[in-house]
Structure formats: C-alpha cells, structure tokens
Symmetry: C2
Subunit: 527 residues, 2 copies
C-alpha cells in the first residue's frame, strides 16, 4: 500500500493539502515517506455531517450485520500484512514482535465485541409487565434496553498504535454499540493510521455500512477541540496525558450540552511488596518487577512507577537483586521526541530530589533512548511532596521505604486514583493483606495479587479505568467488553405495541437473550 497522506472523510479521501507534515522516525533518525495533511475545518465539518447522517442508518442495522463489520475490520487489518507492522515499527520504535502481538490483540478485541453483540445480552433488556387491574392505579407495560448514544470522537494513543488507536478498543466498542466514529489520528503514527483506516473503510464498504460510519483525520489542536465541542459528537474516548485529557474534558463540559469524555490519563500503579512474599521469592520478584518496569520502554499506562516496601533487611536484600536487573536492562528507543524529553526531565527531577538513585541502566542510552532507572525515597519525604507521586512515563520506578505498616497504610490513603494496585504477599502477610485490600480497592480500578500490572487482559471481567486522575470516569472501562457501556444509554418504552419494539424487547424474545422480566432473569418469552 502506498502512503497517500490523505485524510479519510467517509468513503472519500481529501484532496486538499493543509499544513503538510511528515512522520519522524526515531529508529531511522529521519523523516519517513509520505506527506500528511491536517484536515481543514471544512473537512472536519464534512466528516461530522456524514457521521450524524450515518448514525440514523447505523443504529438501526442489525447486531449481526454490525458484528460482520467488526469481524471484517479484523480481517482487513490482517490482510495489510507485514507492511503495516513495518511502518508502525518505524513510526513508534516498537519492535515487530510486540507489534505482532498488539495486532493480534486489536483483532481479537474486534472479534470479542462482534461476539458480544451477537450474544445480545449487553443491551440489558428489562421488562415489567402491565397490571391493568392494579389499585389504586393500573400499571403500564414498561420495557427498557440500552441504545447507542450517537457519534463518538476517538483520540488515538501514541503508546498503543494499534490496540488503543485507529481501530483500537474505543473504536471497536463504539462501533459495536452502534455509534459512528470520527478518529483524531495520532500524528506520531499517521502512516499506521492510514493503513488501519483504509482497512476499516474497506470493511465498511464490503459489509454495506453507511458512509460516515467511520472517518479519520489529522487535526490541529484547535480542531481537536472543535471535534469535541461539535454538536454531532455525543461522547469522546481518549488515552494520553493528563494535560490533554483535561483539556478535552473541560471543553466537553463547557458545551451548551455537555457530553461524557472517557479519558484515561495517568497512574503510577503502586506495587506493595510485603515481607512474607519477599522472604519467599525475592529473586523472582526482583526479576519480574524489573521486567514489568522496563517492558516497552516503560511506556504503558499500567507501568509500575511506584513500589512500597517496609524498611528492613528483607527489603534491602531484595533491592540489591532488583538493582542488578535495572542495571542490566537494555536502553530502548521511545515513541517520540516529546515523550523521550519528558522522561529524561522526570528522571532529572528525581535525581535532584530527596530520593536516592538505586540503579540506572549501565548501557548508555542513545539520543532517543530511555535507560531504566530506579530510586528509593523515605515515606516521610514521599508524603511531604506531591512530586513523588507524579507519573514518569518511561522505564523508571520509585521505591518508597516505609518505617512500618502504619506508614505504608498512610501512603496508600494519600494516593490519588490509580488504574491498578498490586500486592505481593504470602500467607504470613495475611493480616496485613486484609487491611490493605480495601484500600487498594478504593484507590484503583484493578487489584492484582502476586502479579504485575502490565498486561491488560481483554475479557468480560477486565476493568481498565480507576478513580480520578487515572481516568475522568472510573465508572467505565476502556478495555474489555464492559467498554461498550460508555457508548450506550437506557431508554424505556411504555405500552409500545410489540410490532414497534426493538427485537430485544419483543414478547417472543426472538434474540433469545437473558432478560429481567418482573424481577427475574429469564430467556423465556412472554405469552
């Protein structure tokens, strides 16, 4: 496939050229082939008009046909072959093996949502039958299900150029819900975006979806805000920095009609190392924790940026092990220049703080590379200064040494909302675990026992989203089938004749789904 640099407005490609740019590859240290163009405001307007129009048709399309569309996207992505992975690797610095895995995840995510809507129960159908004889007033027939909210704006993330970008979780869940999608392409992987967008458009055309069900544009900062505040857009999905996430959140809330922004922003993902666990397997934990810290140059939203341990002999000997693994970690190239600069700034700030550098990668990091780093800080210093709890995006972690359990609990209590919280323990730690788990649950969206936060399983039970500031809405998830609920809202139908009801609510239950009828879950129809 030839990179054209053109934006996707419905089934057309733009012909205008506006503020052209190229993608700079940190791996090759040069601009890559392909001149991209920011969409003009008129082009953005066109895409939005198409999305709004497409919604009228798309929301009425059967879930089976929507599922075929999602499956077809996965197929078309696979058909792009190695060219996609190679371009993506040059644009992001991520190795081919990782991207092969991420592509598989992206496709299985699309398939999961296809399966979910085929299964059909996701509409949460509820029926309370009429009671015409009820006193003092007759009861109407009320039936409720979830319907799509409207066109959704999706902001691609830099760190998951496939799984959280153009055809990532936000796009998959919105399309599954019945919502057209307008993607704001990430300029760092504009070529990858073009590849994937072309696959989505092909899939839409092959499966007979309405034009406007998907558009993808490179946008100026100003037009990114215009996308969020446009009356046609009904929800926003975003993964990225707290700064940009909050700008979108505030823009959406200052609309005449505020809309939800699901922004996944920042987290340090605390890992608690309790004494029993460290005594039992300090080598294994040291090795695996270090691997989690440096995985993908630490560029995961679930990167373990904070470790809590008790200040004692056991921890000290653990840290000696941990140090070795950080020192021997190979520096790796980061996603883009800004991210690399921010990482190095973050490390410098820690170096000039009351924290002590425990380890740094011995192999020197090249210009666009990040070298792993680990620091320790006393709990009292940590508690005294907010800077220690700020995320450093990259392969760095800060170990907080707590005098005792009380101090460890105090640190947990002081923490902001997190995507994840992890505890390593064995049966000797049970008493403390019981005190800690409610706190971890309060602070995080996912609580892990004996594992590492990196690696987010795509499944029905996944919760990827915690209290602010890890996300703007901890009541939602951006990974797993639960993500579909962000783009649905309930509607009740009162005394509507069967012929006009959606299939999910018809008497005969033609979709054969579980429904809550008069308070009981059943697949039975109503006679």
């Amino acid at each position: 496939m030839q990179i054209t640099g053109k934006n996707f407005i419905g089934f057309s490609r733009t012909t205008q050229t506006n503020k052209p740019f190229q993608v700079y590859s940190l791996v090759k240290d040069e601009n890559l082939e392909g001149e991209f163009s920011l969409a003009s405001s008129e082009e953005l307007e066109q895409a939005l008009t198409l999305a709004e129009k497409a919604f009228e048709e798309y929301r009425e399309i059967s879930t089976e046909r929507r599922a075929q569309f999602l499956d077809a996207i996965a197929e078309e992505i696979m058909l792009l072959g190695d060219a996609l992975l190679e371009r993506c690797s040059l644009e992001t610095g991520l190795p081919l093996a990782r991207l092969t895995g991420e592509r598989a995840r992206t496709c299985s995510q699309l398939n999961l949502f296809a399966q979910l809507i085929r299964d059909g129960w996701y509409v949460d159908a509820r029926i309370d039958k009429a009671q015409p004889e009820r006193q003092p007033l007759p009861k109407s027939d009320i039936r409720r299900l979830l319907i799509p909210i409207g066109p959704v704006a999706v902001f691609g993330a830099s760190n998951f150029p496939l799984a959280f970008s153009t055809a990532g979780g936000d796009t998959a869940s919105a399309l599954a819900a019945g919502c057209p999608v307008v993607v704001k392409a990430h300029s760092s992987h504009a070529g990858t975006n073009e590849y994937v967008s072309s696959a989505i458009i092909k899939a839409a055309q092959k499966t007979g979806m309405p034009e406007g069900v998907f558009s993808s544009l490179c946008l100026s900062h100003e037009d990114a805000i215009n996308l969020v505040t446009h009356p046609s857009i009904k929800a926003v999905g975003f993964t990225g920095s707290r700064n940009v996430g909050m700008r979108l959140f505030n823009a959406a809330n200052s609309r005449p009609d505020p809309i939800p922004v699901f922004a996944e922003m920042s987290a340090v993902n605390p890992v608690l190392l309790l004494e029993g666990a460290l005594k039992e397997q300090k080598e294994k934990i040291a090795k695996d924790l270090a691997a989690s810290v440096v995985l993908g140059a630490g560029q995961f939203c679930t990167n373990p940026g904070l470790v809590l341990a008790l200040e004692n002999q056991t921890t000290e000997s653990f840290l000696l092990e941990f140090r070795k693994h950080i020192e021997s970690a190979k520096p790796s190239v980061m996603l883009n220049k800004n991210i690399c600069r921010a990482y190095k700034d973050g490390v410098t700030i820690l170096q000039n703080s009351a924290a002590t550098q425990l380890a740094e990668a011995i192999e020197e990091a090249q210009e666009y590379q990040a070298g792993a780093a680990a620091f320790t800080v006393k709990a009292e210093d940590f508690l005294a200064d907010k800077q220690y709890s700020e995320e450093i995006f990259g392969p760095a972690t800060l170990v907080v040494l707590c005098k005792d359990e009380t101090e460890m609990l105090a640190i947990l209590k002081s923490m902001e909302g997190q995507l994840t919280a992890t505890v390593h323990a064995n049966s000797a730690d049970n008493k403390l675990v019981k005190k800690i788990l409610p706190l971890l649950t309060e602070k995080a969206g996912r609580v892990i026992y004996g594992g590492y936060p990196t690696g987010v399983e795509v499944c029905h039970s996944m919760q990827h989203g915690g209290p602010f500031p890890s996300t703007t809405d901890g009541r939602s998830t951006s990974v797993g089938s639960g993500a579909i609920y962000r783009f649905l809202r309930p509607v009740a139908f009162q005394d509507i004749p069967d012929e006009f009801l959606p299939d999910a609510l018809k008497n005969g239950n033609p979709l054969k789904i579980l429904r809550l009828i008069d308070g009981d879950w059943t697949k039975e129809g109503i006679v």
Copy 2:
C-alpha cells in the same frame, strides 16, 4: 414529634443557631411552627468527616444488613403517621391524598432497593478463569464486580417532598449501593425533612449502621457548593431547576478531582397527537391530556408542556374539547412563592408572544395559586424562537400546529433532550409512527404510546433521565432499580485468593447470583 429546627450531623443534632428561618406556608399564608437554622461550615465539615469515616465500615456491611436498614427506614417513615403528611401538606400545598400516595411510593422505593441488593445480581459479577497453559502468555484469573463509589450528596427536590427528597430515590439508591448520604435539605419543606431525617437516623441506630451513614443539613447557597466540591463527596444527586443543576455540575467539574453530578433539570415532554388517534377518541384524549397537564398544579418534571398536532379539522375539533377541560380546571396552590412567580411570568411571556391563548382556567387563581393555561403556536413560529421550547413549570401547555408531517418531524429534530416523549396513534397512523419512534427514542429517556408522561412507575425497567438538558447524564436514571448504577463503579480482581474475594466473586458462589463466567451467564459455582 416536636419540630426542633436542628440539623442532623450523624447521630447528633446541632446546637448552634445560624441564620434562623421559618417555613412559610402558602396554604395558611403564614409562617409555620419551628425555627430552622443553616448549618455552619464547621457543621458541614463534621458531617462530611463522619460520612467519610462511615464509608469505610458501611461499604463492608453485608447487603442483607443494608437491606434491613432500608426496610427499617420505610417502617420508621410509616410510624411518623399523619403528622408527617400534615406538616408536609402545609409546607408544600400538596393535598393529603397525593402525599399519602407519595409516601407509599417512597417506602416501596426503599423496599425495592432492599430487594434488589438482597437479590444480589446488581453487582454484575463477571469471572474469566485463569488459563495458565495459554500461549504465548498465560491468562490470569480476572473477576469483576461493582462497588460503592463513596459518600453521596443528595439535594432534595421541592416538588416531591418525600419521593425525591430526604429519603427519596437518590438517598435510597445511594444507601443501597453502600454509599453514605449527606442531604442538603430543601428549605421549602424543612419540617418534612426533619421528620424524615429523624426516621432515617432511628432506622440507622436500630439496625446498627455506623454514625455518619446519613446526615441532613439546611445549607446556604455557598455551603451547598462547598458540599459538592468537598473531597469526601464522590457523586451528587439533584432534582430541580436547570440553573441550579448546572451550577452544581460546573462546580463538580472544576474540582481538582471532578465527580459525577446526576442532575435532573428540565423538560417539556412532547406529546404527539396523530390524526388516527384523534379521530378515534378525541374526547378521551382531551380529557386525559388536560388532567395530565394540571395534575399536582403541573409541578411534575414529566408535565406535558408541549403538544404537537397537525393543523387540520380533526385537531381543531380536538382543541375545542381540550379547551373545555383546561377552562374547568380548578386553580391550585403552588409549592412556594418563587415557583408561583416563575409560572405566572412564563404564562405572561407566552401571552405576549406570537402564540395564541387557547384556554385559561375560568376560576380565578388566588395569590399563590396557578390557573391552568393552554396556548397554540404555528410550527414556523415555534421553530423561529427558542423561547417556545422552554419549560414553564406549572399547569400550562403549548400546542404546536404543524402544516404537515415534514414540519412535525422538523420540530422533533429541533428539540433538546427530554425526559419523556409520547405519541398517540392508532393503526391508521402506523406509517408515521414508524418514522417518529426513532426520533422520539433519540430525544428522550422514555417513550410512551397512547398514555401520558406523568406517573413514573418505580420498577426495574424504568428510565427517568434523558439527553441533556433533561438531565446532565442521560446514561443514568433517577427512578427505578437502575438508579443504583449511578453510585457504583467496577473493580477487577486479578489472581486474588478466594478467601480475600468479595462473596459475589468467590468460587462457590455463596450468594447464588447470576454471574458471567467465561462469557456465559450462570448461577453455578466454580470447582
């Protein structure tokens, strides 16, 4: 019970007196017994500290015990006897018969939430079992359920002094979810608030709930905002005007950690009268629609403030009937002076507009009474001026006369989000109904066929909440068991030993609830 005028801070009553006020009864045209006091900022802080502390204990209390608490509140409210209804009637002008019904609704609402949490499925438990042998990476055991979000601020509504106030739907759903509640009492029915608060506190003490699980305070406007922006508060429930609702919404979003505000604000609840229905039963529709308009002096959020009909002979003869019923409606006293003034201003604005007054109540309205009024306006005038689509809170309605179906559809498309939308039709209207229903569904939270929007059934299928501005979050409901989801958020547990898991997620399924295990809904345990 003696009215003390004191605020409820946990299990204590305040002793301070601060900006004392009395409740003015429009029925008696005099101040009622009891001197109330605004809580001081310190007292508010105390209530919030107690709420935060109570949360730690309350969220761990079994659902059975929480259910007992809710049932006990209903019992204690009934034990207040007629004194509650009499005070409430004097404070609100609402007749005793209506308040008897509203009390029954309030109690059955509490019982419904008790039943819901006893049934237990509301936690939406999901389990994806581990696959240690999976390639290329082993799969962890992931389990997810919904947990309470934290202390909730509830703003009592003036128009439902029982069912949407101190122990109303917001309080019931928050307490059911496991969230302590701090009520900002409505000053128009401060005595009713004191009665009901005392019942809640008694129930809390009898069932052994932690102090701080419930507080209730009269607050200044400034402290009402302080309540919303306080770090201990994690969500807000509100029913009232758009103006106040948006002030709370904006305050919550400008917190360092924004929180959700579920504000139910304003709607005109369009009713479409199609020709077939009017031809078949114009008398009945005229009578019942007028009854819905004037019910409770029109002071319902679901009051039908807008009627759409085709401009033809059938509609004309319907309007003659409708007019009679509006003219013969008895004026009735309104909730408070401000609401009464706003109603009269709203009617005056219509009288001075391009709309034509179709009817007004013949019996003259006394000082604090509202007389019913009906207007007609041409669709083109309606479309040209936003003022016609603004809610007039009270017994007034505006009939929009549409030249043809196209104009009727154009009006529907132009409308803001609504709580409800109603269509009256018979089989002769089927073709038009099919065009209209998707539009009504897009604009409203509840779609009604052949009925009237007033009367909101409390059940599992109810959706009371539509797109902005009818509510700030159309993805939630304030009536029915679905209201509990506003105060819950999902959390995932990864590889957590069975002994530490919440009962809902344990292998053996001790709660015997439906759970989604590896994609299938089942009540089976895991062996």
